[in-house]
Amino acid sequence: MSAEADTVSATAEAEARAVRDAAARARASQARRLMLAPWLCTIGFFLLWEVFCRVFGVSSYVLPAPSDILDATIAYWWPLLFHSFHTLWMTTAGFILAIVFGLVLGLALGASRFVHAGLYPLLVGFNAIPKVAVVPILVIWFGVGWLPAVLTAFMISFFPIVVNVATGLATIEPEVEDVLRALGARKLDIMLKVGVPRSLPYFFGSLKVAITLAYVGSVIAEYNASRNGIGNLMARASADFNVPLLFAALIALAVLGIMIYAVMAWLERRMTAWAQRSQFAA
């Protein structure tokens, strides 16, 4: 009787273990599938593209197949790499300018209602101007070269930084402010102790957007007013009707874009762990 009960409980235990193991395996395989998903989708996308081009016999002057693009990438690997680095460099320079300027202006806007009221409409207006339209002016001022690219990258990317930093500062919970003011805190104390740390997640969040915009800005300027950079390479490739190279440049842009975005996303996670864990309302 008791031996029977033992075997019963032993089987039950084994079954429970099997179920647990299966669940763990399922979780692990789901995690693996999640890791693989972006790769599978990307490869699938290019495969479909290739098949489409081959089946319909699309001319490589219209839409080159990925294999043509790959050939072009290999043939032009050095110019692609060189100009990518140039673009990256322009983007970074403009982006750093945007960070400095955006932080200063954002802090000023967030700290003073007067500055906010005065400058905000101006900023919105400036932001609404398509930056392509500004490039010719920059060329008139500075000539063709690296400066228009850096400045365009800067102009297009500082706005989100300003807005986010200012928002972080301006949305301090009134109760926190009351607690501190009842202790005799000055405005600067409140800014430094609460405002600035609070706006950091907004700031780092805005960097992802800003770097992508800066990148767009430098490519636009290079396309129109530079002798270097991916934008310029594309301008020349399109003048030569070298469509595969054009596409290779586009893909280089995309890869570079993903990389700089990933760097910013990583930075954001590193710097503002508390905001993500406390489900800070961003």
């Binding site: 009842a182 202790l183 508390w274 905001a275 406390s278």
Partner: protein
């Protein structure tokens, strides 16, 4: 109704005929002809219908808002700027999520003199003090945790500590236990009771819980509906230290009933 009179001489917080309206124009006032006085070391509670101006009263007493009319004295001096001696805690713990609990506690010390200039040099002794305070409210050894790693009740305890760390002469509590469960609330009543017994600071507690007011306070002010003013003042003279058992006595329940009557009247006339 027992109507205790505090002599104006030793009143620590005194509002005389205070009227206040928010906004710039002459909007409908939040409080009107509000007068009350609280003695030094006294535990006062303020009860009243929602929106009657209790939080406004707190802001006026701390100089975060200035009245349209009337005078406000704290510690014998007219309030012309934020008072600098008040510790405040709200229903919402408002701890800063990027600071650990201990760092949150030290925040007032980074602002209030003389601690502000001493904090760097004597950090060790200040940290020890903060840890003692945490232990007193039942958060022993939790100082290293971030606020979001604490439960709501624990956060509220920490917020209470933050209000007390600089040993304020005036402690203002605006519905500090409103969001807690009944057991935690009663536990924190005892924490506050003991802290008050130990330090003898002046406390103003805003609450909706009449049992809480009766258990903790020496004097309870009932406010009318907006625009708020004091419609009744009740002295609670149960001997201290009070045990939670007192809340089940007839005398206690009678006071709660009486207060309930005042609030009901105030709501009706609204």
């Amino acid at each position: 109704m027992a109507k205790g009179k505090v002599s104006r001489l030793n009143a620590f917080v005194a509002l005389k005929d205070v009227t206040h309206a928010y906004g710039s124009g002459d909007g409908f006032p939040a409080v009107e002809h509000l007068s009350l006085s609280i003695a030094e070391g006294e535990f006062a509670a303020v009860v009243g219908p929602s929106g009657c101006g209790k939080s406004t009263l707190m802001k006026l007493a701390t100089g975060l808002q200035f009245p349209r009319a009337g005078t406000i004295l704290v510690g014998g001096a007219p309030v012309t700027q934020p008072v600098r001696i008040a510790g405040m805690a709200f229903q919402n713990p408002t701890l800063l999520p990027w600071r650990t609990t201990l760092e949150n506690l030290l925040l007032p010390l980074e602002i209030v003199e003389p601690h502000r200039s001493r904090l760097k040099r004597e950090r060790g002794s200040y940290v020890a003090k903060a840890e003692r305070l945490l232990a007193q409210v039942g958060l022993k050894g939790q100082g290293g945790k971030y606020p979001w790693e604490l439960s709501g009740g624990m956060q509220q305890r920490a917020s209470l500590c933050r209000a007390l760390i600089h040993e304020p002469q005036l402690l203002l509590l605006d519905e500090p236990f409103g969001a807690l469960d009944a057991f935690t609330r009663e536990e924190l009543w005892c924490v506050i009771r003991d802290l008050h017994a130990e330090r003898r600071m002046t406390v103003v507690l805003v609450t909706h819980d009449l049992r809480e007011a009766t258990f903790l306070a020496d004097r309870i002010f009932c406010m009318s509906a907006r625009p708020g003013r004091i419609v009744a003042e009740r002295v609670v003279d149960f001997p201290r230290p009070r045990d939670l058992e007192v809340t089940y006595t007839k005398a206690f329940i009678d006071i709660v009933h009486e207060l309930r009557g005042h609030i009901a009247d105030a709501r009706k006339t609204a």
